[in-house]
Amino acid sequence: VKTLFVYKYLDLGGVETVLASRLAGLPSLGVDAEAWFLRDGPGRDLFGASASRVHIGGVQDLQRHLEMVRPAVVCTIDTEEAFPALGDATKDRATVVEVHTPYRENRVYLGALGRAGVKAFLTPTQYQATLVARETGNLAPTYAIPNPLDRSFLGELIPFRSKPPRPVVAWVGRLDRLKNWNEYLRVAKVAMRGAGEVEFWLVGKTNEEGGELRLMREAKRQGVLGHLRWYRGVPHDRMHGLFDGVRESGGLVISTSMEESFGLGIAEAMARGCAVVVPRHSAFPEFVEDLRHGRLYRPGSAGDAAACVVSLLRDHSLREACGLCGRKDILARHAPEVSVPLLAERLRQLAPFA
């Protein structure tokens, strides 16, 4: 099945990583997969040996490529810009729309897909599938296909020679409203009172004007600036080491996101044996079970989140058990060997004349 995945950016983000895993795994499963990026960036190295299957170009170039290569399936991933190149629905090509974004404003285009001839929607979780079905008015069937984790997260857990001096409570994500970093700082303030010596690692960047200044001001206001280590823009291929540091410190990873289509950062943390604390909403309950992988807290309650953090930091055996169990369960579902064949099977079913 000749398949072309289309995405906007060739950066070092989560989608690019997922695509790299797919391009590495799909050919051996009978799917001749390629990726097309509308904008160039530093992400080409992510693809390693599959780099020859990566193309970069504008919409017109994409159109020409489609005419030349004639893939059986075209999967756009949160990339509405590609639709002019796809043209009207054809009999010999299936258009599949993958929806990974948790940002409502980036899903507005889904409501206008009526005549695009979409054959199916793919999402990373059941939660997102329900959401997409609602927003598209069940325009086409929606399937949840688990994201494959990057291989760098699958390696053995090796103890550190030098551990962080205090337990680390890490937060990973973009510094924006949806990811709700302010709440992380509020949780940090309350957790510090209960957990004593603890350090907070904030991993992420902001593209907002004055965002960094706001971060510093807010951290200062909450009295946590002296306990906050900020990692601004860690390359994805180094994230596994960071999670290892969190685990070795006796710490955990928390999310305060207001909505997640999946929660890749949390899944990657689990893969590295970290216990997690997440809000009980959106896609989290699908793969995080309370007291088995970490703790689920009441959404919007910094106090409840902090209490969960403190309880896990204090209970070493529970935290370690959650970490190990989380790794086992997440790899059982999201290791490329498991999730890529599921995608391959689905693509075969969606291809014309299947």
Partner: protein, 508 residues
């Protein structure tokens, strides 16, 4: 045989010419250092003037007048007429009316010791793409020959002026000598000064700090080994820089070299933020302080461990290049260093000089903000002297002094000049500044004018007997050793360096 003789002679001549070139180059650098320092002083004065009450008043006056009598108005015409009449009558020189007279607001200026200075304020230059290109080329062309450290970036509140002998400058020079490419991010007062890259051959790229804080990602590329960034002052604009260095796996080193909060309390370093310094102290991979007092302060701010790495002495500072005969007194006392009245205790010098009229005092330095002619007759203020000539002046002295104002700022300082006096074999007497950890008797401390005079007499008596011990101490405190001290902590994975290199294993 004749050809060989001729060849030999030519080689001797070439050797002589090479020596001359080296000397000329050193002279040129000295002149350049002097000019850069002079330019900095003028710019500092300019911004101080811009921020003064008088200029602000005048600016408001002109703004008001421009409103009252806009261009082309009848009032404007009347103003000009009145102006001409008044000028003729009073021979006064006035400023033109118009927007050009408004100038820039003082808060748009910056400076490590000025109030409210920002690195990225609205009036500051955002930098050019060329600078980023230079940075990328520097990184691609230069490779460390020092196995344990691949690259170094230094954020300094001062420019790289060797003759001023500042700690960041000396560390940069020593790191470069070890073969480590160094990016020296310097403070600039305004957009115009673009430092001449005269240190590229030595492996140092000088990069304006206001631009560096905007492109931190370019500063910290991944390297084939651990790389270090030294933050020499806690400006809050370095928040993003430090965070980017962390994310790139660079080892972050915060060096407490001054009590910045003390400066802040006396109206300087307006940018200072105690919470941010606490952040640096608690989260840097390696925290160093120049003395125990600042080390204790770092612990109070949240550091778990602090390495005391005192200031040092540049190699060759004790070498007398030219013999210089100076008028001697019963006791000849000297000082070299900064002359700002926030440090230097001019009244103490006046009182001591008046009390001992037969002593001779020599003051060498820069940054004076007082009338230097109002000193007693037995005090000679010599101005700025190139660092390599200091020893030839000091060879005429019996005692070197550190007459600092008693207060929080000076009491936390690790006066570099004490180490330099020691290297020159001179006894030292300090007021205000604490003595470094050193064998007893090499330097003395005084608390008031009377003690100051008595200790100078006592110290002068030990000039010859303790000379060798002083020189030995000076040698042990070289910048080269200080640099190795810091690098040793990195190599031995001290404090949180090991943790950083475990989290980012590709950096090792």
């Amino acid at each position: 045989l004749r050809l060989e003789t001729e060849l030999g002679l030519q080689q001797v001549r070439l050797g002589q010419m090479a020596e001359q070139v080296t000397l000329h180059r050193e002279d040129a650098r000295r002149v350049q250092d002097y000019l850069v320092a002079e330019r900095n002083r003028i710019e500092y004065d300019y911004w101080a003037l811009q921020g003064s009450f008088g200029v602000d008043l005048m600016r408001r006056y002109w703004r008001f007048l421009a409103m009252l009598a806009p261009d082309g108005s009848r009032r404007r015409m009347l103003y000009r007429m009145g102006h001409r009449v008044l000028r003729r009558a009073l021979s006064l020189i006035s400023l033109p009316l118009g927007p050009s007279a408004m100038g820039r607001r003082p808060q748009e200026s910056g400076g490590p010791l000025q109030t409210g200075g920002g690195l990225t304020g609205p009036g500051r230059q955002t930098g050019s793409l060329d600078a980023r290109f230079d940075l990328a080329r520097f990184y691609s062309d230069r490779h460390s020959t020092y196995p344990a450290v691949a690259r170094a970036v230094i954020f300094s509140a001062t420019q790289l002026i060797e003759s001023e002998g500042q700690r960041p400058t000396n560390l940069a020079l020593e790191l470069a000598k070890l073969g480590i490419p160094v990016v020296f991010c310097y403070w600039r007062w305004d957009r115009s000064p673009w430092t001449v890259q005269e240190r590229l051959a030595e492996g140092i790229l000088q990069f304006p700090m206001d631009l560096a804080v905007q492109v931190p990602g370019d500063l910290f590329p991944s390297a084939a080994g651990p790389s270090i960034v030294l933050l020499e002052f806690p400006h809050p604009d370095l928040f993003r820089v430090e965070a980017t260095a962390h994310a790139s796996g660079w080892v972050t080193i915060y060096e407490a070299i001054d009590d910045w909060e003390g400066f802040h309390r006396v109206g300087q370093a307006g940018w200072y933020d105690r919470a941010f310094e606490g952040h640096l102290a608690a989260t840097s991979d390696l925290v160093c302080a120049v003395n125990n007092r600042l080390a204790e302060r770092m612990v109070a701010l949240g550091a778990r461990e602090v390495e005391v790495v005192p200031n040092g002495v540049p190699s060759g500072i004790a070498k007398v290049t030219t013999e210089r005969l100076m008028q001697r007194g019963d006791v000849t006392v000297g000082y070299f260093g900064h002359l700002s009245s926030s440090w230097f205790d001019w009244p103490l010098i006046r009182r001591a000089a008046n009390a001992r009229p037969k002593w001779r005092w020599y003051i060498i330095g820069y940054g004076a903000d007082q009338d230097l002619t109002a000193v007693p007759e037995n005090v000679a203020v010599l101005g700025k002297v190139p660092q390599r000539d200091l020893a030839s002046y000091a060879a005429n002295w019996d005692v070197g002094v550190v007459p600092f104002r008693t207060g929080r700022v000076a009491s936390s300082a690790d006066a570099i000049k004490i180490y330099e006096y020691m290297a020159m074999g001179l006894p030292a007497v300090a007021v205000g500044a604490p003595l470094p950890s050193m064998p007893d008797g090499l330097a003395l401390q005084a608390r008031n004018t009377e003690e100051f005079i008595n200790r100078i007499e006592a110290a002068a008596a030990t000039k010859e007997s303790l000379r060798d011990a002083r020189i030995a101490f000076g040698v042990s405190a070289s910048w080269e050793k200080r640099c190795h001290h810091v690098l040793g902590k990195v190599e031995s994975m001290g404090q949180r360096v090991g943790e950083k290199l475990c989290v980012f294993p590709t950096a090792t």
